[in-house]
């Protein structure tokens, strides 16, 4: 298979994505380095800054991360059409270099609820298998978030998500 934009001898690995039952989306990829390094690159703000907003999708405009249990983070990027999209949340569990659990809110549709993301870093012969499990809020959680004062309807929230998705491409 031809690799796109691979500039060095190291072969690029493939990203896989799978939709599971119970609102879970699983993203995984193997990296050519030990979990210690991958975990650092995945969590430390000054390193996250360098990969979280790919040039093809936008530029990073905010990247702060207080990496401790209960600490907050916020990542934001400006898409080519000038829209800012921001994700924020807090850390629920930090076990370097093997496991990370955090919440995530897409700020532009905060009333759609909070996701919980669990990332595991598994050592495989000097490489790291990274698996990120995103669990989307249940309908009940979203409904109660909607009832608690927010005037947005689901329809509008969904339209915003579509706009986000379109703007990311």
């Amino acid at each position: 298979m031809l690799e796109s934009q691979g500039t060095k001898a190291t072969p690029m690995n493939k990203t896989s994505m799978e939709l599971k039952e119970d609102r879970e989306l699983v993203i995984s990829r193997t990296f050519n380095g030990p979990p210690r390094i991958v975990f650092d690159a995945y969590t430390r703000a000054e390193l996250v800054k360098r990969w979280w907003a790919p040039k093809s999708h936008g530029e990073i405009v905010d990247c702060t991360a207080e990496v401790r249990v209960g600490g907050k983070y916020r990542y934001a990027m400006r898409t080519p059409d000038g829209t800012d999209v921001a994700f924020s949340g807090r850390y629920l569990e930090i076990t370097p270099p093997s496991r990370l659990v955090y919440t995530q809110v897409f700020e532009q549709m905060a009333d759609a609820g909070e996701m919980t993301i669990t990332v595991t870093f598994e050592e495989l012969g000097g490489k790291t298998l990274l698996v990120s499990r995103e669990v989307y809020p249940s309908k009940e959680a979203r409904d109660s978030a909607l009832e608690s004062g927010m005037e947005h309807g689901m329809k509008e929230a969904m339209d915003q998500l579509d706009v986000l998705v379109a703007s990311l491409c």
Binding site: M17, L19, D22, G33, V38, H57, Y136, R142, M154
Partner: protein, 113 residues
């Protein structure tokens, strides 16, 4: 998108969608195939209908439930775009990891130099 995702998150609803891929069916037929009672099937079909995933047509004396392709296609497209975003991110992360490995090696060599 979230509505589609939520509607499909329930295992029996996902089974109904899988079954309807073969073509439209009436409620009792769906119930028999999946061994669900009719109130259950009707409840799930209502959720799927609200999410725009199925629609209903009358044929002779029957009401047939069938898939609407749009939401599933949208979900597929959304997933693919989201995968591409993460793929691009991870390509960048790959490069960063190479850099960090090189840095680490050069640091490790320093004391000996």
């Amino acid at each position: 998108m979230l509505a589609t995702l939520t509607a499909l998150a329930e295992p029996n609803r996902l089974r109904i969608v899988e079954l309807l891929r073969t073509g439209p069916r009436p409620v009792n037929d769906i119930g028999e195939c999946l061994q669900l009672n009719q109130p259950q099937v009707s409840k799930h079909l209502r959720v799927l209908k609200d999410a725009g995933i199925v629609d209903v047509h009358a044929r002779a004396q029957q009401r047939l439930y069938g898939l609407r392709p749009e939401p599933l296609r949208q979900l597929h497209d959304w997933l693919e775009r989201y995968r591409q975003l993460w793929d691009a991110r991870f390509d960048g992360l790959d490069e960063l990891i190479e850099e960090l490995k090189t840095e680490e090696k050069s640091h490790a060599r320093k004391p000996r130099n």
